[in-house]
Symmetry: C2
Subunit: 484 residues, 2 copies
């Protein structure tokens, strides 16, 4: 947990062990490293600083002699005191107890490990659900910013639902998908994760049940679980027939409050729900009065043919809350998305957003509006589709070459993902750990379905083509090794 971000000064008169001890003493004295916390192991710290383990041992010995730390058997080295507490003999607040309190659960350990490993230099990220930095539209973003510079008169708080100009542009953009939504029925959010967060705290009771596809992206975040809700997953196959057949019964059985679905380029399977199935789904939901959250963040990223219109385009009863975003198409760093739905629902969610963060970055909202209004968005998305096609082709060729006998997969028609099924019983934890050792970061299937032990989400969107090829090759070797 603790790192020093520091290098020993080898030219100093002060011995290195003393430098280390002083540095850590500073962290302890200011309370930045609080009493009760564990220090890094001697081995880990020696590695981080590029020194011998014996140097760290000497530093810890000095801190220990001063009564600041203590080696506890089985618990590592723990901070037991700081100079202030030594002087005053009154312990500081027990932040560790606070850290374990709170209604929110910590992120899944696997997700946290992935979040951290993403920043290891040189790692090949085979599962990352983000466009490659190579595909970042640098020139287009620069031209958008250049045009904006002259226009920005003030950057204050915006209206509760977000910058009107952006909502007007989103309204116009949605019309192109067959969705009629006035700016009043649109709320600008900081990415579609925040959309789900607002829905969970603003519209649902604790203990509600959310129906969803299994596997699903929703299992990888715990926005609903943190708010005290249950997830109930209905397996999807390519044709969605069982899913649709069982939906009514499951809704009744579980008294479900909501259905969460990703009908276009589903995350993680890449599947697309057919137009017929969309109509069927909506008619079941209307009959059962089951509101729907439609997550459409991948809809624009088709490779072969455009997917059918969103559920929201057929929705004549206001049953669907629709979410979209620029994170997958233009830039995740803008943190701009939207929710579309009946006005009273949008009003309510806007009110909660105001209580949470007083609205999304105005600067990002201006930029997003200019992207949509200028037509640059449409141009860019066409280019992204071309690039995704190339990358998907490469992924399919490489998979065919190295995985034919050990895995199977469906060809994806858009979005970022191939849902790879390994034909062998391999522990996902072991595979993840082994791959990480070899410099490859995976998104194992059990992130998207707790019981899954066979799949992996392969993203062809993030890694550079050469890395994608190299990473998949190495992965196939690792799988063969573990298998044998």
């Amino acid at each position: 947990m603790f790192t020093l971000h520091w290098k020993p000064v080898r030219t100093s008169a002060l011995p290195i062990y003393k430098q280390i001890a002083d540095l850590i003493k500073g962290k302890i004295e200011t309370g930045e490293w609080p009493v009760g916390s564990k220090l890094p192991t001697e081995r880990a710290l020696a590695q981080e600083l590029g020194v011998n383990r014996s140097t760290v041992v000497a530093a810890y010995a000095e801190l220990s002699a001063e009564g600041l730390i203590e080696g506890k058997s089985g618990r590592g080295t723990v901070i037991t005191n700081n100079t202030w507490t030594l002087l005053a003999a009154a312990p500081p607040p027990d932040w560790n107890a606070y850290v374990h309190a709170g209604a929110h659960q910590p992120n899944l350990p696997a997700i946290r490990e992935i979040n951290q490993a993403e920043f290891i230099p040189g790692i090949i990220r085979l599962g990352t659900g983000e466009l490659s930095p190579e595909l970042f539209p640098k020139e287009k973003m620069q031209s958008v910013l250049r045009r904006l510079i002259a226009q920005i008169d003030a950057l204050g708080y915006e209206e509760p639902k977000g910058l009107l100009r952006l909502r007007e542009q989103v309204s116009r953009y949605l019309l192109g998908k067959g969705i009629e939504a006035s700016p009043d029925s649109i709320l600008i959010v900081s990415g579609s994760l925040q959309a789900l967060q607002l829905i969970s705290v603003g519209l649902l009771h604790r203990g509600s049940t959310i129906l969803l596809e299994k596997p699903s992206y929703l299992y990888s975040i715990h926005v609903f679980q943190s708010a005290g809700m249950e997830l109930y997953g209905l397996p999807i196959e390519q044709d969605y027939q069982d899913f649709l057949r069982r939906l009514t019964d499951v809704k009744k059985l579980k008294n479900a409050a909501l259905l969460y679905t990703i009908p276009s380029f589903h995350n993680p399977t890449g599947r697309v729900m057919s137009e017929e199935n969309r109509r069927k789904l909506l008619s079941v939901c209307e009959r059962e009065r089951l509101p729907v959250i439609e997550d459409d963040v991948y809809g624009d990223l088709w490779i072969d043919t455009s997917p059918p219109p969103p559920l929201k385009a057929y929705d004549k009863t206001g049953s669907v809350l629709y979410t979209g975003s620029l994170s997958k198409t233009v830039s995740a760093g803008l943190r701009i998305g939207w929710i579309v739905g009946p006005v009273p629902v949008i009003d309510r969610l806007a009110d909660i957003k105001m209580q949470t963060d007083y609205g999304s970055s105005s600067l990002s909202q201006w930029v997003a509006a200019e992207w949509l209004e200028s037509g640059v968005y449409e141009e860019h998305v066409q280019e992204v589709r071309k690039q995704l096609r190339k990358r998907r082709e490469l992924a399919l060729i490489v998979l065919h070459k190295y995985f034919n006998d050990i895995a199977c997969w469906e060809k994806s028609g858009g979005g970022f993902y191939i849902w790879l099924k390994i034909k062998a019983d391999i522990s996902p934890e072991k595979l993840f750990a082994k791959a990480l050792e070899e410099g490859i970061l995976l998104n194992p299937g059990n992130i998207y379905d707790r019981n899954d032990r066979q799949h992996m989400r392969i993203s062809y969107a993030y890694a550079k083509p050469a890395e994608l090829e190299e990473g998949l090759y190495r992965l196939s070797k690792i799988i063969r090794e573990i298998k044998s």
Copy 2:
């Protein structure tokens, strides 16, 4: 709640009442205005559209004849059906029930009213806690953006704690205030409201008690109350002596989990805690193991003399979680703030932030880093201080001229506010409503202390000087009228 954002087409062959009816029919058909919602009153809609009330009556009559709406006695006109439900006889999901569910409470009605009234054209905002758009550093922001354009290579997701470059700059900036905090102990957030939000869900149990100053900004938001916590306010006077004397007992009596304080240019009173009182406060908190949230968003905005160093600068036990932001000094629209504290606490809050919105806008973070790094921030803040001084002088002169016999106040040494005390028993609701009628938006004292019926928060930061003078003059007249 519903507005049309539309003007009748007077040149059309279609009569205006028919145009209105068709427009509303569209909203009902798509479910944007759901079944069960109330339509605007005929009077309100006629006013919005600039038509006779009889035109709206005719439009509603047509919708009523088609079975879409119904006048219900005492409840106004309600949407009872839509074409889809007429066809299918199955009601859509009852969103109204959802809107009233959810763990989060809606914002205080007064706050919501203020949020909305802020966008009434021509209104004079006498209480707004934001720098005037006139003071927006347009040229500086343009030059910062121009320098950034060339640097931005990609705008993806950032590290969980935020852009490292920004955290390094915040670390350097805090050193100038006497706070030693490494980038690891800093979390970038979307404004300091989000800081409180993350603390409330990440560190505290439901049912915890938060101690705070009375009055306090914290009463005007309900980030802690929404998470099931109690607020307990201890009155502050100018010298804080009673406050400090009672703190230990109240902490014990209430078993309080946390103290929230704004030691520099307190919101809404403008007061500054002396250095001696800061040391006393911290020593009580350390002895009682009472963690502190120090809100320092106004600290840089001193007018006469710089305030004493923040509590965090004296904190040797890691007892203080410190929050700051660029919202009050540079631009609220960037939505950039920070929390500083012990590393395990910051790790925990970063984890929750990742679950909430995957981090703040990268673009805003780049901009904030460039502001701090280039020294433009310091230049700008010096200019803001000068402008605030002029505005405060003006406010004091105008108050002296018109309020001398009807109110009293303390001279503020920085920040945005004067806490005006009216020497008469006037209902705050009545005063607020009357002022709004006269085009003046107030922040009455009961927003910051439920039982307060005497104060008003006057901000000299927002309204233009001429408006400030005019607004205060009109306000004094209104008070005199109501009084008599």
